[in-house]
Amino acid sequence: MSDAHIPSPQPSTGTDRVKRGLADMLKGGVIMDVVTPEQARIAEAAGAVAVMALERVPADIRSQGGVARMSDPDMVEAIMDAVSVPVMAKARIGHFVEAQILQSLGVDYVDESEVLTPADEAHHIDKHAFTVPFVCGATNLGEALRRLGEGAAMIRSKGEAGTGNVVEAVRHMRAIAGGIRRLGALAGEELYAEAKNLQAPYEIVAEVARTGRLPVVLFTAGGVATPADAAMMMQLGADGVFVGSGIFKSDEPAKRARAIVLATTSYDDPDVLAKVSRDLGEAMVGLNLEADPQAERLAVRGW
C-alpha cells in the first residue's frame, strides 16, 4: 500500500517503474530480430512479444564486416507501422545521439548493443537521461549491475551474436546467476568490498544480495538457434529470449519462429519440446568460435 501514500496528481512518464514495467510484460516471450516489415509480420504472427528492428542480422554483420550502425529511421518506422507488438531498435554503445533519434522515432525500447560497432570506448549512454527504456547486454553480474547503475531497465546476457552457438549464452547466464547466488552468501559488511570487486554501485549490489534477483527482467541472447536452445536458457533462469540470426537465417523462418515461441512457454515440458523440435528444416549453419581464433568476439565490447 506504500504506493497509495505518495501523491502524484500529475501523470509522470519515463519513471523506473514504467520503464521496467514494459520488460515485465515481455516475460516468458521471444523477441526476434527483423530487418524488413515483412519479417516483422512473420515474427508477430508466430507469437513474438516484440521485434528488434535492425539493418542486418548479426550473422551478416559478422560476415560482411564494416561499421555497423543504427538502422535507417525509414526502416524502423516501416516496421513500427507493420506490427502492433513493441518495437525495439539498436544504438551503438555510447552513441547517445543515435539513442536520442530512436526515442524521437517512438521506438519502445533501445538496445545499447555490442552487436553494433561501439561509438565510445570508455562510456556507455547515460540512460537515466531518456524517457525511452534501455536494454543492455552483460557477460557477468558486475557488468549487469554497472548497466543498471547507468539506468538500464532490462538486462540480457550477451552470448555471442550471429554464431548460432549457444555456448557463450550459457556461460554468461551462468555467470550472472552464479554471481547473484554468491552475493546472497555474503555478510552485510562484506558487500562493500564486493561492490568494489564487481565495480558496481553499492546500493544495487546490496539490493541484489537482499532480494536474490536482479531488480529488472533478465533475458538471454546471442546464439539461440533451436527450440531446445531457448528452453535450456529458460531453465537456466532467463525470463525470456532474444533470437537474432537464428530465425531468418534458417530454412523455414515462420515454422522455426513458432517452435521457439512454444519452447519458451513450455520450457520445462520435454514432451512439448520433443514435439515442437520436429520438421523445422535446417537450422542456421552456426559458427564455432573455439575452432576459429581469428573470429571477432562481440561480447568483449562494452565495459
Partner: protein, 245 residues
C-alpha cells in the same frame, strides 16, 4: 493428466514465465491464506504472471498458474495477466485453451484482466489509430478496446486514479495501455482517466468479469485484487465454498 516430474536444473524449475531467478515463490512456498480461500488461476503462457500470484496471496486467495485445460479444473476465478495480447491470444490457440476457457466464462467463471488481459476480454479490438485489428480474443465483456490508446512506450505513465468503491485513489501504472472505447449497457464503468480527448474508461466490470487498462500488479496495492476476490466469492461457481470469516 500426467504430472511432469523432471530433474530440476540448478536454479529450480517452475512453470511461471520469468520465475527462473525469483525464489520468492520457491519450493517451500506456502500461501498464508485461510482454509476455504478461493482458488484463482493466473494464465501463465506469457506476461507478468508472478506479480499477480503475489497480489492474489495478499488479497487472500490461493493463486495457481494455468497452462493447460487440466489446470482450469477446480478454479473459482482466473486472472488474465499483462503481457502482449497478440502473443497470449496465439498461445491460447496453440495450447487448445481458447475453447475451454470461453466455455468456462460462459458458465460464469469470474475473470480479471489487466492491460493485455483486458484486451482479451473485449469482443473487439482496435489499433491505436482506431482501425480494426485481427487478433484472437477470448471475449466475454460487451466492450471494444483501443490498443496502445495512450501511445507507445515513451507515453507510458503512472498517475493517481479514483476508482468507484475505493476510498482513496489507486496509483495506476499504464504501460502502452489500452482504453475501453465502447462499453455496452451491461458494463459498469469503475474508473476513467483524463486524456486530451476527454475522460476515457480504464476500469470496468460486467457481472463477475473485471477489466483494468492499468497494472495494479506492478504496485503493492491489492485493492483491485480484493475487489476481484469478492466478485469470486459472490459468484455462483460450480465449486461451492464455505464463506470465509
Amino acid at each position: 493428466m500426467t504430472t511432469r516430474h523432471f530433474p530440476p536444473p540448478a536454479l529450480g524449475r517452475s512453470r511461471v514465465p520469468g520465475e527462473g531467478l525469483l525464489d520468492d515463490r520457491g519450493p517451500h512456498f506456502r500461501p498464508t491464506v485461510l482454509a476455504g480461500a478461493p482458488r484463482i488461476g493466473v494464465l501463465a503462457l506469457q506476461g507478468d504472471v508472478l506479480e499477480h500470484l503475489r497480489l492474489l496471496d495478499v488479497a487472500g486467495a490461493v493463486g495457481a498458474p494455468v497452462q493447460t485445460t487440466a489446470d482450469l479444473d477446480g478454479l473459482d476465478g482466473l486472472v488474465l495477466p499483462g503481457g502482449e495480447s497478440t502473443t497470449i491470444g496465439t498461445l491460447l490457440e496453440l495450447h487448445n485453451l481458447l475453447g475451454p476457457l470461453r466455455q468456462r466464462i460462459d458458465a460464469g467463471l469470474p475473470v480479471f484482466g489487466t492491460c493485455a488481459g483486458a484486451i482479451l476480454l473485449a469482443r473487439r479490438a482496435l489499433r491505436h489509430d482506431g482501425t480494426p485489428v485481427e487478433q484472437t480474443l477470448v471475449g466475454g465483456m460487451d466492450m471494444v478496446v483501443r490498443r496502445n490508446a495512450f501511445g507507445r512506450q515513451v507515453a507510458s505513465f503512472e498517475a493517481d486514479l479514483d476508482v468507484t468503491g475505493l476510498t482513496a485513489p489507486m496509483h495506476a501504472v499504464f504501460i502502452r495501455a489500452p482504453w475501453i472505447e465502447e462499453a455496452g449497457s451491461e458494463v459498469e464503468v469503475l474508473a476513467t482517466a483524463d486524456t486530451d480527448l476527454g475522460p476515457r474508461v480504464v476500469v470496468a466490470r460486467q457481472g463477475a468479469l473485471l477489466a483494468s487498462a492499468f497494472h495494479p500488479e506492478l504496485t503493492d496495492d491489492p485493492r483491485l485484487h480484493h475487489l476481484f476476490v469478492r466478485l469470486v466469492e459472490e459468484a455462483e461457481t460450480p465449486r461451492k465454498r464455505p464463506v470465509r470469516c
